[in-house]
Every structure is written in structure tokens, then in C-alpha cells.
């Protein structure tokens, strides 16, 4: 058994080598010479001030955008476009409004060519996993924001992606729902053994979810710091208040706030 985030035993999931992304005909650099190596079963958080290129970096890993320079790989294969090996959760609700929750969850499996019975069995399983057992036949229009997002998460996970990419997945939710969703994510990630890259600007969320935090500088986005969340000792903690009580939490939070201030105050 490997510990999550174990640096020695797990495989490399994603590498970025000198990745740069420019816009506006090369006059604006959103992501500047970023290199990183993300390991299998690791939960990594991209954090940094608004507009620093976190979304751009994540979208390049998803294959929805291409680097202007540099290379990206997933399990040693170059990333050339989007694919079901990298599931993506967006901040905007992307559950399809014309499908019921269950049909939404089955959609990804349908693309993968799973049989009807298999789809039906797995959709039951994933409805339970995201606590939506009673809402399988509901259309997204009748679900709350948090529930819509859970449908999208279940739909993505049902494809069993090697890597789960999330761009501020709980950003549109209110504080209490966000907190429930974070704990649910921990439960799911533990069960599914997924590698996760998530973007957030919420420092507490970053600490709670991740094994490792990658801090981006304000535009152009470079890696300012690569911080292991070592006080959790590789554990995923099911209840947030338990994490808050751990020694080391406050220090890390303070460190991240100080770094954030540094970046914001730079002109």
C-alpha cells in the first residue's frame, strides 16, 4: 500500500516542462516557464492571486488549451487534446440540463461505450457516492447549485479518470455547502484513489484538500513555491475541524496568507 502523496513509490502522473502560454499574439504571458511533476494519487492544489494563470495551467493539462512553448505529459504520453483520462470539473455548472441526474452520470460512460446494464449499475453507485440517491430522476433545473455540481462530479468520476482536474469547483457555492462538498470530496478521493489537481483561491480549502500546494506568482504566472502539506502527514482528514486542530495548521495558513499578500501588493 502506498501512502497518498508518497514521493518514492508512486508513478508520475503529469509532468510540465517549461510550459509557457501566451495570449494576444505573444504580447501577454499568462503562464511563464512552469515545470512541475505531479505524482499518482497525489492531491495538488494550484493557488495564487486572481488572474495569475491557474485556470490556464489547468486547461492546458485538460487539453482544452495548448502551451505556446514547453511540453505536457500524462503517464509519460504527451497531452495532445482533451480525453476521458483527465476528468474536468468547471466552476460553472456543467450538468446537462436536458438529462436527469442519472442520465447525466451515465453520459460519460455512454461515450466510453459501457453497456446499458453496466451504466445503470455504476450510476446507482455514483449517485450514492455523491449523496444524491433520491434525486436520480430529477433534472438539474430542480437541483440546488451544490447538487448540480455533485452531478457533474459523479459524471466525471464514473468514467474512472486517472486524473481529476477541478477549477474552483465550489467557488459558486455558499460557505456551508462548500464545506460539505470539501468533506465529500475527501471521502470520494480516498475511495476512488484518484489523482487530483484543483484550482482554488481559498487558502483553507487548499490546505484541507491537498497533499501539496503549488503557489503561483501574480501575472505572469510562475511557480512561487511548492509546499508539501506535511503537518497532515499524508492523511486525508474526513472532518475539517480535526484538521484545524492539528499543530502546524495555523503556521501553514499564516505562511500562505503572507505569500498571498506579497503577491497582491506587488504592482
Amino acid at each position: 500500500m502506498t501512502m497518498p502523496g508518497d514521493q518514492t513509490l508512486s508513478r508520475t502522473a503529469i509532468t510540465a516542462s517549461n510550459v509557457t502560454r501566451q495570449y494576444l499574439g505573444g504580447t501577454f504571458t499568462a503562464v511563464d516557464d512552469v515545470s512541475m511533476e505531479l505524482r499518482e494519487n497525489e492531491i495538488v492544489c494550484f493557488i495564487g492571486p486572481s488572474g495569475c494563470g491557474k485556470t490556464t495551467m489547468l486547461r492546458m493539462i485538460a487539453g482544452l488549451e495548448y502551451p505556446s512553448m514547453g511540453d505536457l505529459t500524462i503517464f509519460d504520453k504527451p497531452i495532445t487534446g482533451p480525453g476521458p483520462d483527465r476528468g474536468m470539473i468547471f466552476q460553472a455548472y456543467t450538468s446537462f440540463p436536458w438529462l436527469t441526474a442519472r442520465k447525466n452520470i451515465e453520459y460519460g460512460m455512454k461515450i466510453m461505450g459501457l453497456s446499458r446494464q453496466e451504466r445503470s449499475r455504476r450510476s446507482d453507485e455514483f449517485l450514492t457516492l455523491v449523496h444524491l440517491d433520491d434525486f436520480g430522476d430529477s433534472y438539474p433545473a430542480s437541483l440546488s447549485g451544490g447538487m448540480k455540481q455533485r452531478v457533474a462530479i459523479a459524471r466525471t468520476l464514473a468514467q474512472n479518470p486517472g486524473v481529476l482536474l477541478m477549477d474552483e469547483p465550489f467557488g459558486a457555492l455558499d460557505a456551508q455547502v462548500r464545506w460539505e462538498m470539501q468533506e465529500m470530496m475527501i471521502e470520494i478521493i480516498e475511495r476512488e484513489n484518484t489523482t487530483v489537481v484543483t484550482v482554488t483561491h481559498d487558502i483553507q480549502e487548499a490546505i484541507y484538500l491537498s497533499d501539496r500546494i503549488i503557489f503561483f506568482t501574480r501575472s505572469p504566472g510562475r511557480i512561487k513555491a511548492d509546499i508539501p502539506v506535511s503537518f497532515k502527514e499524508g492523511r486525508r482528514i474526513p472532518r475539517k475541524e480535526e484538521m484545524l486542530a492539528l499543530p502546524g495548521y495555523v503556521d501553514l495558513e499564516r505562511q500562505l496568507f503572507a505569500m498571498m499578500r506579497e503577491e497582491i501588493q506587488q504592482k
Binding site: A62, P82, M88, F90, T94, F96, P97, G108, M112
Partner: protein, 283 residues
Amino acid sequence: MIRLRRRNGEDVNQVARRSVSLFELRTVLSGRTSLLLGLAGATGFFIIWEVGHYITPEESQRFLPAPQEVLGALITLIVEKDYIADILKSCFRIFASFFAACLIAVPLGIAMGCFMRLRALLNPTISAFRYLPAASFIPLLLVWFGPTDTQKLALLVLGVIFFLVALILDNTKAVQPELIEAALTMGAGRRRVVTEVVVPAVAPAVVDSMRNMIAVGWTYLVIAEIVAASDGIGAVMMRAGRFLKVDIIMAGILTIGILGVATDILFRLAARYAFPWNRERGE
């Protein structure tokens, strides 16, 4: 606004009463209230019409017949002049031409919304055609097809198709990009994205655009039937005009109004039935 009565006031049953104003900002109305207000508006219109008729000097009253006279003319038309055949003819022209226009415009608009190169290729030309008044094609169509049904259908198609393409292109452009990207990250190919994401996502808006454009179709119907037609509602009205039979002209207008509203309701019901998922919460 909530007005609270004093606790020792006589009116115990009406503790809080909502004042009703016509100009309350964006309140939610019950279906019943909407219906009643709509009927009140229509009744008001007929009352003004009726009053207008009676204050018109006697010798010119036949140029503004009363509503009941128009209704009488309508019944006479139906019973004695085989008006139903004209109505059916007009309906055929509207629906056949509109169906043909949609058959081209809907797939084209959606495709142009999906594929940038196709859009860049076609959009300038199609936009230019929108600025040409369809009525200006009448002489050309008369030369090409003569005073036939084909000529009328062609005019009706020309009248709506360019607007329809533009509207559906806009509807397609408005599809939330994340829906498409979500499908791509799930491994959907181009064909799947178009048929299984863009089409269902845009469908309610397309039906809405169709509903709005068929109203414009009715406008062109009258133009088409006023010129070189022997049958249809427009032709009946044109003939009546020659004999200054204002009651028949108004009966024609009334018919088109009723048919227009009926079409609108039909589209709304169809949309509600076809897209149960699109219903607002609580509707």
C-alpha cells in the same frame, strides 16, 4: 407594500393587506391573474373600438364597423363564401413555407454557430440578404414563377429565412461553452458534441426563435396574397377593399390575429411538452 392594521382595529381578518398596483416592479403573477389581466386588456380594446364606432358620424360609420358587425361579416364569410377554404389555403402557405425555411435555417444556423470557418464563409452574405426587403422580390418572383402558389411560398421563405438563420446562429453562439468543453473532456468527438450537446442545449431557444419568426411570416402572407392571388385571407381582404367592404377587411384582420395567437400558443405548448427539463422552478 405591507400595511399593518392596528391591533385594536375592527378588521381582524385582514391583518396584512397587500396594496395592488399596476406598476409594481417585476412581481410574480399567478396564472389566473395573468389571464384575467390579459382578458381585461382585450375587453378594453373592444370597448374602445365599440365607442369609436358610435362616436363616428353616421354617414362614415361603415368605415369603422362595430365589433359585432365584423363578427357578423366573419360568420357570413364562413357560411356563404367558403371562407374556411381561404383560411386553410393561407395556413397551408404559412406552414409549408415556414417548414421549408426551418428545414434549411435550423441546421444551417446551428452549423454556423459550431463551425467558425463556415460562419466566416456565409455570415456576411446572409446578413446582407436580411437588409433586402422581401417585398422587393415580388416582381422577380412573379417573372420566375408567375402568380402561382410557388411564387407565394418562395416569397414567404425569403421573408423569414435570413432572419431565422441569424437568430439561430445567435442562439447557438449563446450555448454555454463549458457544456461543450465538459463533453470534450469526457472524450466526446465532434459529431457527439454537435448532436448530443449543442442541439439539445440550443433547442428551446430555437423553438422560441421559430415562434417569433412565424409571426413575421404572417406579415408576409398578407403581402403575398394581396399581390396576384385569387384565394387566401389576403385575397379576400383585397377584394373586399375594392368594394369598400370594411367589415370584411376587418374580419380578415381579425382572422389573422386569431390564427397568429393560436400559432403562438401552439409553439409554447409544444416547447413545454418537448422540453420538460427547461421549466423554471415552481412554474
